[in-house]
């Protein structure tokens, strides 16, 4: 079974430029998460989707970050404009339900973003 797929794996952009990350969750998983992970730190949740609905976006910097999951499957996370402090690894994860236990939350390999 394919795991969570993310692209691109690496992205280098100049500050003030836009950037987008794409995630394809495990087939059948209706819950999708976007995390940001700074170097040496644990992942921090940015947004959680239940199907196409964003049920927790309290940590998403809405002035420059946006996300969508239009058909309740794939998701895109966008930053516009990017700032130097946005350099991090952006992880996508999926699980089969809101009440799923941790072992059911599968992470993708992440997109490493470098803003210069």
């Amino acid at each position: 079974e394919a795991g969570v797929v993310q692209s691109p794996r690496y992205k280098i952009i100049e500050k003030k430029q836009p950037v987008a990350f794409w995630c394809n969750p495990i087939s059948g998983h209706n819950t999708l998460y976007w995390y940001r992970q700074n170097l040496g730190q644990g992942p921090e949740l940015l947004i959680r989707y239940e199907n196409e609905e964003a049920v927790d976006d309290s940590q998403l910097p809405k002035d420059r970050f946006s996300a969508e999951r239009l058909k309740g499957v794939d998701s895109t996370l966008k930053i516009q404009p990017a700032e130097l402090g946005d350099s991090a690894v952006y992880l996508c994860a999926s699980s089969s339900g809101r009440l799923s236990r941790a072992y059911e939350q599968y992470f993708g390999p992440g997109t490493r973003l470098t803003v210069t």
Partner: protein, 120 residues
């Protein structure tokens, strides 16, 4: 705010030794704890979990201990192997409908991470 942290940022052991990685948590409302392993260039991978009504749980070569009195979590790896080299994170989750300290229901909160290096 509430946080989950680690005492030791790095741990270096010899192959075959036992490893112990520690974690302190501060949200007394958390009722579910998890250890993750993250290798370079990969996302976190679930290792083992424990509920707050337990103080010990064993898996294959790994044991998690929970001490709610002092809010301490540890991961023990037996007969550590070079393949165990990675960053290890503890994480907490609160399943109560209202979670103290601002942790939202079901939200996974990670700690800082410990780098484990196993020397052959």
């Amino acid at each position: 705010g509430e946080s989950v942290g680690l005492h030791l940022p790095t741990l270096s052991v010899q192959e075959g030794d036992n490893s112990i990685i520690n974690c302190a948590y501060s949200n007394s409302a958390s009722d579910y704890f998890i250890w993750y392993k993250q290798e370079s260039g990969k996302g976190p991978q679930f290792i083992i979990d424990i509920r707050s009504n337990m103080d010990k749980r064993q898996g294959q070569r790994v044991t998690v201990l929970l001490n709610k009195t002092v809010k301490h979590l540890s991961l023990q790896i037996a007969a550590t192997q070079p393949g165990d080299s990675a960053v290890y994170f503890c994480a907490e989750k609160c399943w109560a409908h209202f979670c103290a300290g601002g942790t939202s229901y079901g939200k996974l909160t990670f700690g800082q991470g410990t780098i484990l290096t196993v020397h052959p």
